[in-house]
Amino acid sequence: MVIQQDKMQSLATRMSQDEVKGRSPWADARKRFLRNKAAMTGLIILIGVALFALLGNQFAQWSNEDLDFTVMGQVATMGMPSFENGHYFGTDDLGRDLFARTVQGTQISLMVGIVGAAIAVIVGTLYGATAGYVGGRTDQIMMRAVDILMSIPYMFVLILLLVMFGRSIAMLFLGIGLISWLDMSRIVRGQTLSLKNREFIEAARATGVPSWKIIIRHIVPNLLGLVAVYATLLVPLMILTESFISFLGLGVQEPLTSWGALISEGAGTMNYGTLWQLAFPLFFFVITLFGFFFVGDGLRDALDPKDR
């Protein structure tokens, strides 16, 4: 599970060159993306999962909180997936509707993934662009700081943070997002360095546009493709991290839930005749990760074709 930095590098180089040639890479890319079967499958899966998260509750016959007392205590025999009693995905050990809970888990996990990736990408881009654009001493200090931060075992720090500030979604977003901006900042910095001396930037500088504005108006937009690809590939990593945290019991608070929490609950009881408790959340988890990988890879290949 990883984002290949060399491919990102290559993509970044390509994006900045294209800009210089004055031709948008996006139009061609769209064509290439639409032709990529895996990527299109991924996209369809993701749209499906997103619809499930948004509209699933319309179809649920039970709320995600209510205990079904007719099922409770005999889940293995009464709580299996059934259309008759409205538990499409069966129930969990307490007799709560697994369909509603999977919908909710999907919402939370997607949110953690997307917000986490967004934080990582925003921080990484701004940090890298600033370091690269300002250059000199600032650049050196900022990049040395990144070097130092790279050798910190992040999962440990994240666990510490959650232990210290208590479990909350906000902490999870922040902690997970702050884990992965370092690689991003490095690549962005490299590209900023090469963009910085191009004519259009120099022109802007000559007309007295302030540095922060140049970074935001001219440098960041040129990195948009890179950012999009990076973000798409980061989301599944964030989702995986969240599932690990949930496994450790440091995830979101009940009655909220997430894929990780549902899967680790289901995995505990898989030998007790309630396999659906594992199967449904795991299915959504797996296809979503596939979806993001396929789309991310497809997007990258589309923006940075090797056969140019």
Binding site: V163, E254, P255, T269, Y272, G273
Partner: protein, 533 residues
């Protein structure tokens, strides 16, 4: 004048020779006398003064032996002490020790107990269980723990090598029952002085129990082998006892089923199924722990909970039958008292909570809340705090749903253990999950918790209750006192008692001699033996 064998029940048990359980007629012993038991987590310490947990005690009970042991019913039987006398004022106990030996062959003397007990209260040892000696009411224990007196001042004295005298500050009816606790075990002075903190390493450790420590891989396993120097070694059948750590209960059950473990806890909700599949293996035994939701009635607590009607309504509306029968499903019992039902010398009072049906209780709860000015139109918002655990989570979710129709909105707050404890001790909670396990088989071990100066995290206080608990210390018949104390708890409702524990385990039917009626669940590997398949 002193009475010999003055106190009642002990006479009979002490008069009998303390033989280990022996195979019955016609039972075929297995070649390989091994017992593998399950440990949820690593054993933190095998130093009697530093152990703090139940699993550590299970191991210590094999490696060391105190003055008294417990039999399969939990009654006290002689350990190192052969007999004892109690003075008329009930303040002095004199123990006669038997000819027992340490595993290095040296005799166990009264001096070893004196050393061990002084060590436990010595501030330098910094024992987390020093309070146990205070609980035993030994003279000067409290002052020594505070560092105001030297450990030599502890009220324990070796009259000669085989005679130990203990003096108490106040008559303590449960004193003898504390003597099978790990904190009171003797320790070998020479070995400790020679090795320092490393004396508990396998090879260094010298004990007086029926088994010696063979190996200890932290978080993996701990192996003990029969001690040939043990005074009753000829009656010990078991050769090897091994504690195996498995951090996940479900995996532990899988490994039990694969034959790697001889005893394992059954995960919540699985008892009915396993009981059907393997009735000779699944057991549910009473276990002296109680589970409750404690209300914070202190200054920092929520206004609503200061109203006894609200507290009672919440307690009444909690459908304990569903919790016990449909969530836990392991033979636990609904709790209407704080003291566990199986505790010796305790009669449960007749209370509304115990007698009404659940519909009646729910209705009564609604009335009480309406009286107090609350209800669905004026909902109460409270936080229910629990520490990370699958079962606590399930119960909290269920409780939330039981209270919802009353117009009580519960926010669940799951925190990890240390935070939970810290907040409880600082009254930073509305309602919190809590459980208490007996230290000895008497109701005061539970009820003391609610004394004004007890642990009492909710800071409930009642003068009559305090007085009752003080009276119980010297009373001849404590049963009515404890019943009255529980009545006060039922009227004042400082906590909603939820259920009384049961030990719900799978036990290999080949293993014989495990206690089935001891509510503290103390077991002694010296009493175990394994049958051939």
């Amino acid at each position: 004048m002193t009475k010999f064998f003055a106190t009642t029940a002990l006479v009979a048990s002490l008069a009998m020779p303390a033989f280990a359980v022996q195979p019955a007629e016609g039972e075929q012993l297995a070649e390989n006398q091994v017992y593998n038991f399950w440990l949820l987590d690593a054993i933190k310490s095998v130093d009697p003064a530093k152990n703090t947990d139940v699993e550590g005690s299970d191991v210590l009970r094999q490696l060391f032996e105190g003055l008294m042991n417990e039999d399969e019913k939990g009654a006290m039987v002689p350990g190192v002490a052969e007999s004892f006398e109690e003075s008329d004022d009930k303040l002095t106990y004199t123990f006669k020790l038997r000819d027992a030996k340490w595993s290095n062959g040296e005799p166990v003397t009264a001096g070893d107990f004196v050393y061990a007990w002084r060590r436990a209260v010595n501030p330098e040892t910094a024992s987390e269980y020093a309070w146990f000696m205070e609980l035993m009411n030994i003279v000067n224990a409290t002052d020594i723990v505070k560092g105001e007196k030297s450990p030599e001042k502890l009220g324990v004295k070796a009259i000669d090598d085989k005679t130990l005298e203990v003096t108490l500050t106040t008559p303590t009816p449960y004193f003898i029952k504390t003597l099978s606790h790990a904190t009171t075990f003797p320790v070998p002075q020479k070995v400790i002085e020679e090795h320092g903190d490393a004396w508990t390493q396998p090879g260094n450790l010298v004990g007086n129990g029926a088994f010696v420590l063979k190996s200890h891989n932290l978080g993996v396993d701990i192996t003990m082998e029969k001690n040939p120097e043990y005074w009753d070694a000829e009656n010990v059948v078991m050769q090897t006892v091994k504690g195996i750590t498995v951090n996940d209960n479900n995996v532990a059950l899988t490994r039990y089923q694969a034959g790697e473990l001889d005893r394992v806890q059954i995960p919540a909700g699985q008892y009915p199924r396993l009981e059907k599949e393997a009735p000779d293996q699944a057991v549910s035994l009473p276990y002296a722990c109680s589970y409750a939701y404690v209300y914070n009635v202190s200054e920092k607590g929520p206004e609503a909970l200061k109203d006894v009607r609200v507290r009672e309504a919440l307690s009444l509306a909690l459908n304990r039958d569903i919790i016990v029968n449909n969530v836990l499903q392991g033979g636990q019992k609904p709790a209407t008292t704080w003291t566990h039902w199986a505790i010796e010398g305790f009669d449960q009072p007749e209370t509304e909570l115990a007698t009404l049906s659940q519909e009646e209780k729910t209705q009564r709860a609604q009335e009480l809340l309406t009286e107090a000015g609350y209800g669905p139109d004026n909902p109460i918002s409270l936080t229910l705090q629990y520490n990370t655990d699958e079962n606590h989570k399930k119960l909290a979710i269920a409780a939330q749903q039981f209270w919802k129709p009353l117009g009580v909105n519960i926010t669940l707050n799951n925190v990890e253990w240390k935070v939970h404890t810290d907040r409880m001790q600082n009254q930073d909670f509305d309602m919190a999950r809590y459980a208490w396990c007996a230290d000895y088989n008497e109701a005061s071990t539970f009820l003391d918790w609610f004394r004004t100066d007890g642990y009492n995290s909710g800071k409930w206080s009642n003068a009559e209750f305090d007085q009752l608990m003080a009276d119980a210390k010297t009373a001849e018949d404590t049963t009515p006192i404890y019943t009255r104390a529980e009545e006060i708890l039922a009227e004042e409702v400082p906590a909603a008692f939820v259920y009384h524990y049961a030990k719900v385990d799978m036990i290999n039917p080949d293993i014989k001699g495990l206690p089935t009626e001891n509510v503290l669940n103390s077991w002694y590997a010296k009493d175990l033996y394994r049958l051939a398949d």
